[in-house]
């Protein structure tokens, strides 16, 4: 009986614990209401960021956003006020992502939401974002389902990352431009090796429609090393037998090197070997196998040679943190903060309607190369970036091949045979 009572009391304390642990900010919120306007004007402008911090995209994205905040504050802040960034981990889980939004809105009392990675997490967050209708500058989520969930009426919602259909179209445009400029590069026969999860299967299903503009596409699934697989012999043998002009794989970073090892072992060297994982493994460029592998992405350190903003970002990031940015989510998140800063300055206020109008007039020269502005996509009112870039690993560096205005190197074609290396 005593045991039962002890446990019951423990449950009682646990139920009451949220009062002490999580609801501490509620009082602060109430106190803030009582503060005078003058005091409020001196308060920092609060930005609430949600990223998956255990993932390299969220880790580097949040750190780059913090870097931008510190730079802005060092230069006097915005409208005479400092920026304050509160970051909460989404853990790549929809329910955690939603809780983070709820905390930022009700406990931290942020003025603006920023950040984001993963469509699945974002789908869980969208109902909460719609509840608060605060100005939101979102860096992640490519799935057009997320666009559908946001809907056409959310004028407070600004989305930076390309949607799946816009980035798919950018690949088609890119390969079209490349084959026009370099007629020796053939892109009419495609073989897509895709991991059997949602990411790979989705890529295959989307590509089958998109790439018809370029030519034939076939594909086969494989079990990714990231989900317990890692044997690529069958899929690569079938690809070799098919003999495509472009071999593309959609899997995870864990597949990148083992798949190249297998390709080398079976002597499979297609004219174009293209990888489309969400991120590349640390040190991938240091492997001689990586040379001349092509990839999609929004940014690479090589862009420092064609963009002064990219160079500034890169030097500031490497000066503050260990290692260089490995993912485009770093310059993307950095850009998100600067876009907000410029928008608030143009608006001259944090008042929502004025801020939305100011953000609609954004023309931000970003470290990603392009000048970012907002225009309507299929459903939402404010879409920032429409496509990705085509890059190639060359001697350990990711060089931009397309768009040609940001080109940092000529493409190496065809992918050299394994005996020529």
């Amino acid at each position: 009986m005593k045991n039962c009572i002890t446990v019951m009391i423990a449950v009682l304390l646990l139920l009451a614990l949220p009062l002490a642990v999580f609801a501490g900010g509620q009082g602060e919120q109430g106190e803030q209401v009582e503060q005078g306007e003058q005091a409020a004007e001196k308060d920092p402008i609060k930005l609430g960021g949600v990223w998956p911090l255990a993932d390299i995209t969220g880790d580097q994205g949040s750190k780059a956003a913090q870097l931008a905040v510190e730079e802005i504050n060092a230069n006097g802040g915005v409208l005479g006020r400092q920026l304050e960034l509160s970051v909460i981990d989404s853990e790549l889980k929809p329910e955690k992502g939603r809780s983070a939004i709820e905390r930022l809105a009700t406990v931290e009392d942020v003025d603006i939401f920023v950040g984001g990675m993963s469509s699945g997490v974002h789908l869980g967050q969208i109902p909460s974002l719609k509840k608060y209708e605060k100005v939101t500058m979102w860096t992640g989520a490519a799935s057009s389902k997320a666009e559908e969930a946001v809907g056409p009426d959310a004028d407070w919602y600004f989305h930076l990352h390309p949607w799946d259909y816009t980035q798919g179209q950018s690949y088609v445009d890119g390969w079209g431009d490349i084959s026009e400029k370099y007629p020796e590069i053939k892109v009419s026969d495609w073989f897509l090796a895709y991991e059997d999860g949602a990411f790979g299967t989705g890529s295959f299903q989307a590509s089958q429609n998109l790439y018809t503009e370029l030519g034939e596409m076939t594909g086969e699934s494989f079990k990714s090393a990231a989900t317990g697989g890692g044997d690529y012999t069958a899929v690569l043998e079938h690809a070799k037998e098919y003999g495509p002009e472009v071999f593309i794989w959609a899997g995870y970073d864990a597949d990148a090197l083992p798949m190249l090892e297998t390709a080398k072992a079976i002597d499979f060297a297609p004219p174009i070997y293209l990888g489309a994982p969400p991120g590349w493994p640390q040190g991938f460029g240091e492997s001689p196998l990586s040379n001349y592998v092509m990839l999609y992405g929004m940014w690479a350190p090589s862009m420092n040679s064609v963009s002064g903003v990219s160079k500034h970002f890169y030097e500031a990031y490497t000066g503050k943190y260990d290692g260089e940015p490995q993912t485009y989510f770093a310059p993307l998140s950095y850009s998100a903060i600067y876009i907000l800063k410029e928008g608030i300055e143009r608006a001259g206020t944090l008042e929502k309607e004025a801020l939305i109008e100011a953000l609609e007039n954004t023309e931000y020269d970003s470290p990603l190369g392009q000048t970012i502005g907002f225009s309507p996509s299929n459903i939402i009112q404010h879409q920032g970036i429409w496509g990705q870039k085509i890059l190639q690993w060359q001697n350990g560096k990711r060089e931009v091949i397309w768009p040609f205005e940001y080109q940092t190197a000529e493409p190496v074609y065809p992918f050299p045979g394994w005996d020529e290396r």
């Binding site: 646990l14 609801a23 909460i88 955690k96 009700t106 389902k145 999860g197």
Partner: protein, 310 residues
């Protein structure tokens, strides 16, 4: 005296839990929703464990219930509450058919089959693009109760209370003795006239219905399903860790484990944003290594030691 204390403590727990949305804000409510979800899954996992059968199929039945609820609403235009029930029924029906086929397996053989359930259904949902939305999943036109956080909390809370009641009924009925007999010595149980197969199928169906309904509530609360999030391995691994932490073979252990891990993980995240998952993992490993009977078991051990000293 102790009976009165127990009643008072139980009443206080009930009042605090029922009044929870009124003395906390939207953020604690969303945490509570998540904790309740995992609590239900942990208790239901433990109910099957009492037979000696380990299931890794929680995420599978949770995902089946989620998809059944969303698809039945989209295609049949059924009311949300009915779709939740349908989620449970379909999960239970699949468990019944599967159980008849595989419940003669024991130990790891059964565990691996249940693990495969989640994977098989995840792949089916991913590839039936025309029906399930494929890898991108499906959206609901609106959330249950129009997203009212109070009502969604009470819906999940009600499901948790129902699960706890079912678990307690099983612990206090003939079923409990049958299940315990099966776990302790199957041959003796069989020779005592216990219809092992019947009880295993019943408990497998009941726990799967609970998991399916929980998936249905979750999908109706968030308004979407995707193969990756609805069949996430988290829905198998976290309830398992919670039950082990709190203590297995009873209702109280998984309840305490879910409350503790749910709150501790959120607390750690707020104070150690970079690296909290490492600390969380270390805590779980240490507790499971050094407290194999869980928190409830440890409390019982302390009580017995105290009684011996007296």
């Amino acid at each position: 005296m102790s009976k009165y204390i127990k009643t008072i403590v139980m009443a206080a727990v009930a009042v605090l839990a029922v009044a929870f949305p009124f003395y906390t804000g939207a953020y604690p409510q969303s945490i509570a929703q998540s904790v309740l979800t995992y609590m239900i899954l942990a208790v239901s996992w433990d109910m099957l464990l009492r037979t000696g059968q380990i299931s890794f199929g929680i995420a599978g039945f949770f995902g089946i219930g989620s998809y059944a609820a969303v698809l039945s609403m989209l295609y049949l235009n059924l009311p949300p509450m009915l779709t939740i029930l349908i989620g449970g029924i379909i999960a239970g029906a699949i468990a019944g058919l599967l159980g008849i086929a595989v419940l003669r397996l024991r130990g790891m053989y059964f565990a691996i089959v249940t693990l495969a359930v989640a994977e098989i259904f995840r792949i089916i949902m991913t590839n039936l693009k025309g029906f399930t939305g494929g890898p991108e999943g499906e959206l609901l036109p609106q959330l249950i109760f129009q997203g009212n956080p109070y009502l969604t909390y009470y819906l999940m809370f009600g499901m948790a209370v129902l699960t706890i009641i079912i678990s307690e009924i099983f612990l206090r009925s003939r079923v409990h003795y049958a299940l315990t007999a099966i776990r302790n010595d199957e041959i003796v149980a069989r020779s005592s006239g216990v219809n092992i197969f019947k009880y295993l199928v019943i408990i497998f169906i009941v726990t799967s219905v609970i998991q399916g309904m929980t998936g249905g509530i979750n999908a109706q609360t968030y308004g979407f399903v995707t193969p990756e999030s609805s069949f996430s391995l988290d829905y198998t691994l976290l309830p398992l860790a919670m039950a082990l932490l709190g203590g297995i073979y009873g209702t109280m252990g998984p309840v305490v484990g879910a409350l503790l891990l749910g709150i501790v993980s959120e607390y750690l995240k707020l104070y150690i944003p970079y690296g909290h998952l490492v600390i969380y993992g270390i805590i779980v490993v240490i507790v499971i290594l050094y407290m194999p009977q869980g928190i409830v078991g440890l409390a019982a051990r302390i009580r017995k030691a105290g009684a011996r000293n007296e």
